[in-house]
């Protein structure tokens, strides 16, 4: 039989071995440590008892032998505990791993979600801004579209009020050419709308104080609009009326006449004519035409000055026969009787004082014709030197302004080609007209022979330039020969 001290050693060893086990776990079976302890204790006790028997009671030797054969009880106990807990430990590891994976996944998920939310917020803000801008643009476009539709509907309504697309409303809006000055309806003499085809109809209108010219309803076609100011400046515009469409044209109009500047006419009389007896009866008739173009936006206004007839005397007097037109072709001569009458009446009495003419500043002027004339004081006639190759104009009983004799003879005129010249815009101008050499030669023949028996034609190319600034060139060209007068048939 073993006493208590003999059996205590295995228990002590087993307890020490079990004491080195890992800490108690919640999932550990409640009897596991006890079972390991009891099994090891029983084994050690059996072995110890056997060794005691072998060693005949030598306790230390028995313990030594048992230890040597058994090995480290703590290792055995730990191995048994681990084998028993392997499944749970694995489960726990898997669970921990799974939890860790879930934590990582959750963290990644929340990170992605946070980024997605942040990105979504940015996109939403951007989309909101874009949507707002697009809405504003769409609203503006819609408003514009609506306005255009309303205007279109209004036009259609106007046109449809007459229920006939062949009649279309035409409105002209006259505006001021000067931004600082208001439109002046009083300076518009007339607004004329004419069908463009030859022989077409025309209508005249007058603008309201606001510059509106309601032309009413017009049929489709092409028209010409002509506006004229009270001082004679005019403007042409084309108008095409389409079926079913209303038309509104805007035309810029001048508010004041073009600025004019005074002009001094100076005739360079040839000295060799002064010796003739009837030299003091001589007059040089010069037709001067001018043209002024003013641009107002898209509109071009033109001075319609058709020309003026100026009669110059060697003593420096000048008569303005501006209402007498002397066209190039003598056959087309039309004498404006009132002016001629006035001229003649003035000559019968005291010489009139004629103010210097004016010209448009910036206008382009040129001399159209020149003629040499004689005043027959006793007969009260003005004889314009004639070209008998042209037919005379018989005025019959219609006294053309006091010209006696019943005929205004076929005048010898010369049509001068360009050059024209442009008047200055602000200063007084002095223009010197040099008699063409051909005309001088002819005048000399006239004075010497006192005859109207036929005249030769004049080379017109020798008649220019006429002005003092080109005097030298004119002198050279003035030597052009002329044909000898022919006997009058």
């Amino acid at each position: 039989m073993l006493n208590a001290s003999e059996t205590s050693w295995p228990e002590v060893v087993a307890h020490a071995a079990v004491a080195h086990l890992p800490p108690v776990r919640d999932d550990e079976p409640t009897t596991l440590r006890r079972d390991i302890l009891d099994e090891l204790t029983d084994h050690l006790a059996c072995a110890f008892r056997r060794e005691l028997l072998k060693t005949k009671g030598e306790r230390e030797r028995a313990e030594h032998n048992v230890r040597q054969r058994f090995g480290d009880p703590a290792k055995v106990a730990r191995r048994l505990w681990l084998d028993a807990m392997k499944g749970r430990l694995m489960t726990q590891k898997v669970l921990i791993g799974t939890c860790a994976a879930l934590v990582v996944a959750s963290f990644a998920f929340y990170t992605l979600m946070w980024q997605a939310i942040a990105s979504s917020q940015e996109r939403n803000a951007l989309l909101a801004a874009q949507s707002q801008a697009a809405n504003a643009q769409m609203l503006a476009e819609a408003q514009n579209t609506n306005a255009a539709l309303l205007a279109r509907l209004e036009d259609i309504g106007k046109a449809s009020a007459f229920n006939d697309p062949q009649w279309n409303p035409v409105t002209l809006r006259l505006t001021s050419s000067d931004g600082s000055a208001p439109f002046r309806s009083d300076v518009i003499k007339v607004v004329r709308v004419a069908e463009r085809e030859q022989g077409g109809k025309s209508w005249e209108f007058w603008p309201t104080a606001e510059g509106v010219v309601d032309c009413g309803l017009m049929q489709p076609g092409k028209y010409t609009i002509y506006l004229e100011t009270t001082w004679g400046e005019g403007c042409y515009r084309s108008l095409t009326v389409m079926p079913g469409r209303s038309i509104e044209l805007t035309i810029s109009c001048p508010t004041a006449p073009p600025k004019s500047i005074p002009i001094d006419w100076n005739i360079d009389w040839p000295e060799n004519l002064a010796s003739y007896e009837n030299y003091e009866s001589s007059w040089l008739l010069v037709s001067v035409g001018g043209r002024l173009v003013r641009e107002f936006g898209e509109d071009t206004w033109t001075d319609q000055d058709g020309g003026r007839i100026l009669a110059f005397h060697p003593d420096g007097r000048m008569l303005n026969l501006s209402t007498v037109e002397l066209p190039a072709d003598v056959a087309d001569l039309v004498a404006r009787s009132s002016s001629i009458r006035s001229f003649l009446q003035d000559r019968r009495g005291s010489p009139p004082i004629v103010e210097a003419n004016e010209i448009w500043a910036g206008g382009r002027y040129s001399i159209g014709e020149m003629a040499y004339a004689e005043w027959n004081k006793s007969q009260g006639t003005l004889s314009l030197l004639q070209d008998t190759s042209k037919p005379a104009i018989d005025f019959g009983n219609d006294d053309p302004g006091g010209i006696t004799g019943g005929k205004l003879a076929n005048l010898l005129t010369v049509t001068l080609p360009e050059p024209s010249f442009v008047a200055p815009k602000s200063e007084q101008a002095t223009w010197t007209i040099k008699m063409p050499s051909g005309l001088i030669e002819w005048a000399k023949l006239r004075h010497e022979r006192q005859s109207q028996a036929g005249f030769g034609s004049i080379d017109q190319s020798a008649l220019y330039p006429l002005f003092s600034r080109d005097a030298d060139a004119a002198t050279e060209r003035g030597r052009m020969p002329i044909e000898a007068p022919r006997p009058r048939g």
Partner: protein
């Protein structure tokens, strides 16, 4: 000799000992030592893990009994254990026969080759 030299030998020995009736760890070691004429000395560090492994594998069942004032754990072979024992014994015998055949033929071959 350490029976761990042969893989599965400890489990085979345990199953064989327990096929004769329930036993406990120390008795198993003594039985193996006795029957092997002292050749196989099972170490406790190998025996108990093998016993517990077979128990978890349902080849053994265990029960506790009071003995000499202590709790003692007895192991008992199950039907599954018995079936596994039969299979392992067959495999072992085939292995041993083959091994013996090889080891037994080796001296003659050597002698023949040197003759």
């Amino acid at each position: 000799m350490d029976p761990k030299l042969f893989p599965g030998a400890i489990e085979l020995l345990v199953l064989e000992i327990l096929s004769e009736g329930p036993s406990y760890g120390y008795e198993v070691t003594q039985t193996v030592l006795s029957r092997s004429a002292g050749r196989f000395e099972l170490k406790e560090g190998s025996l108990y893990p093998a016993l517990h492994k077979l128990e978890r594998a349902k080849m053994l069942t265990a029960f506790w009994q009071e003995a000499e004032g202590r709790r003692r754990k007895y192991y008992k072979l199950t039907a599954a254990g018995r079936k596994a024992l039969a299979a392992r014994k067959t495999a072992w015998r085939e292995f041993a026969a083959g091994l013996e055949g090889v080891l037994g033929a080796s001296p003659r071959r050597a002698g023949t080759s040197h003759a």
